[in-house]
């Protein structure tokens, strides 16, 4: 799933490690999310969106999921 995590992280000037620690996952999970290899759970998506003070829809792109319905 596409996301704006990398863009937001660069805007806020925070490392993958810092974001990972803040949302309670490993750095590798953030890398996988940024590379679109892994889809975050609802809880993790909420935590990441909350970290950037945004909604889940603003961070993650659900257009592919909407296309499936």
């Amino acid at each position: 799933m596409k996301s704006k995590i990398r863009k937001l992280r660069k805007q806020h000037r925070i490392s993958q490690e810092e974001l990972a620690l803040s949302v309670g996952v490993t750095r590798q999970t953030i890398t996988s999310l940024e590379c679109e290899k892994y889809t975050a759970s609802l809880v993790l998506a909420y935590k990441i969106a909350n970290f950037f003070n945004l909604t889940i829809e603003e961070v993650f792109d659900f257009s592919e999921v909407e296309g499936d319905n």
Binding site: V25, T26, Y38, L44
Partner: protein, 150 residues
């Protein structure tokens, strides 16, 4: 984090018990091997060596884990890292996929080996068939349990 700390303490107690248990087993294997030296025992030296090596390896792994958990309980940063390591959702998914795929591979290889062994040796055939049935029953039971749980 409090629950994680309490779980870690419980694990430490269990692992400390296991260290003593494994040490006793290693001692008993050593004693058995000493007793069978020079006798016409069916107990093979190689088997005793593998058993001793396995249990010593297990002992070392447990001691390493105990040290890791004790250090984590003393240092909050290490505790947080350990918590993340254990609860990371991607790690859990990797583990789940590894185990389920691994199980399928094991079942296929075991079933083929069971059929082939039937032509060669009855003891090996019944041993492999028992293992296959045990794994199958365990998977079936766990599948039923988790379907009721979730």
């Amino acid at each position: 984090m409090k629950k994680f700390k309490s779980d870690l303490n419980k694990k430490l107690k269990l692992m400390t018990f296991l260290v003593f248990l494994v040490a006793v087993i290693v001692f008993l294997i050593g004693f058995l091997s000493y007793k069978t030296v020079g006798t016409k025992s069916d107990v093979n030296d190689f088997i005793l060596g593998v058993q001793t090596g396995t249990f010593i390896g297990l002992e070392l792994v447990i001691i390493f884990k105990i040290r890791k958990y004790k250090n984590a309980l003393k240092d909050s940063n290490m505790l947080q890292k350990l918590y993340i390591e254990k609860n990371d959702e991607r790690n859990k998914l990797i583990l789940l996929n590894t185990h389920s795929t691994g199980l399928y591979v094991i079942m296929i290889v075991l079933s083929v080996a069971t059929i082939i062994s039937g032509f060669l040796n009855a003891t090996v055939f019944f041993t492999l068939a028992s293992v296959f049935m045990f794994i199958g029953l365990t998977v079936g039971f766990l599948g039923y349990y988790y379907s009721k749980k979730y």
